[in-house]
Symmetry: C2
Subunit: 357 residues, 2 copies
Amino acid sequence: MTDTTASTESAESSVISAADAAKSKTPAVILTGDRPTGPLHLGHFVGSLRSRVEYQHQYKQYIMLADSQALTDNMDDTNKVHRNVVEVALDYLAVGIDPAKSTILIQSQIPELAELTFYYLNMVTVARLERNPTVKAEIVLRGFERDIPAGFLTYPASQAADISAFKASIVPVGEDQIPMIEQTNEIVRRFNRLAGKDVLVECKALVPEIGRLPGIDGKAKMSKSLGNTINLGASADEITAAVKKVYTDPLHLRVQDPGHLEGNVAFIYLDAFDPDKAALEEMKAHYVRGGLGDSIVKKRLEAVLQEMLGPIRARREEFAKDKGYVMQLLKDGTMRAREVAAQTADEVKAALGLSYF
Amino acid sequence: MTDTTASTESAESSVISAADAAKSKTPAVILTGDRPTGPLHLGHFVGSLRSRVEYQHQYKQYIMLADSQALTDNMDDTNKVHRNVVEVALDYLAVGIDPAKSTILIQSQIPELAELTFYYLNMVTVARLERNPTVKAEIVLRGFERDIPAGFLTYPASQAADISAFKASIVPVGEDQIPMIEQTNEIVRRFNRLAGKDVLVECKALVPEIGRLPGIDGKAKMSKSLGNTINLGASADEITAAVKKVYTDPLHLRVQDPGHLEGNVAFIYLDAFDPDKAALEEMKAHYVRGGLGDSIVKKRLEAVLQEMLGPIRARREEFAKDKGYVMQLLKDGTMRAREVAAQTADEVKAALGLSYF
């Protein structure tokens, strides 16, 4: 009983609402990021990128290209990870993440993150890692079964290192990642207790209020592996082709029939992206009572997406002309981030008695 | 069947004799070291320190003060580890390890060792770590049971990092540590296969021909926790007191009785340390046929130990007068070692596609 209560309390206290997060007096530190395993798409845009463009004005924001973490299940294709670092960075810059306001960093280029991971491994038991619901779910998802790479089982310690290195107090994550945040806080508390002072900072999960964007085929998740994405860098023709394939209402056979909005991806996308909410509400009403064809709805969707993605694509292409410059931005961000991580690693090592010179 | 054969072959090929090791054409690289958890004693001297003084002329020798590794089961007493780094270094210098010939390094001050550990964790499965006989035995020994710190389960990856960082090809270890060497070689081979070239070097265990030195109480192992040691820095009085307690032959009640040599610690120590082998053989014969009292044997043992440990203690006291100088030696060694480890880490990361700038 005691255990259950403790766990529930801990789960609650590990989450913060966007409103509460915005209220913090001193600018909070936020850590976000992506595993660079493929181009970013509309799902990322809705789920995180769009928010990051706002966060960079409210918080001290670190955005991590988690290449080392991506290796935990991509050791057979390390090239893919390498290649996508600059591609994902281009997506960041294209959507308006400003490297002067946000610190973009490459995880593998900050050895102190591996160092912190190393020490945190002493602060978590094997049994605890095996009980982590996120790890359990991902082990099934990735089909590891008994052949779990040790680096996969231990990645909560790595995530704790990433978060605590920058003393991030807010971490935007999906609901399924809350156990990871709890595990980080357990390590942070254990370490601070050991150190006898608050060297590390506890963090809160900031769960986005908008749910996941479905794929163009109507499946619950937009995902590269499902082939149902619209990438942020999609060409005008690719957008046109994708919109044609967008899943609508299979019961809406004739124009004059009443249409359904539930699970209708065209309307879900319009809800997410159409800036003209009044016209959209009118269109929805028309669709529901019958007499509005899918082709009209899709025409509007295409216009909205072309208008939204056009400037993103243009900025992406502009930055892509000089990848050397983009890599320089990443280097600058990484060096800035490294100073912070190195300072934390020094504090952690000093608390463990590992300072000599 | 196939599995058993493979494992036997692998065990054999992971070991090298001192004679074969000495034959290598280019100077081989050797890695040794200690967990700094207490002062070194005669057991260390016989088991490893004495050899290291010779190795430093034959090999490129790295000697690691494994403070990070010591933390895996000393998180409750980090101070002990910190304190013993300089003490163990004093023991090294006292026995004649020459910092100009051997590179003495502090593990925690080389972040690249943690970095390599981090990547190697992707190259070994949890199941494989759990099957490691050395790890299994130590989990029982240390009473971890289900609450195994993750850092303890994963320490074979850390050991692989330490060995491979310096491209050591020879690692002096006890018989019980051979599975660790095999695990290192598995990681090395897996990594090289992935890299498509021999970035890392396989190593061989060099198992000392002289067995373990028993404690003064006759127990199989001399160990601080058993309180049956003679420390290298022992004072003359401490040596006298210890020799008095040395276990001999419980059946040798009267001087005229025949004595037994088996398990007789006084003679085991004399075998290990008395330079006058002829006189020793005579004394043994006398003891066995009867008429030689334990007090005479112990008198000889005390003389031998005082003579051997006197200069060691004097050198230790001399170095201990200027611990700042000792720390400077450790810093120099660590910096030299770090350059080598950083080079290896760069090569490893480049092979994993983690080079950008």
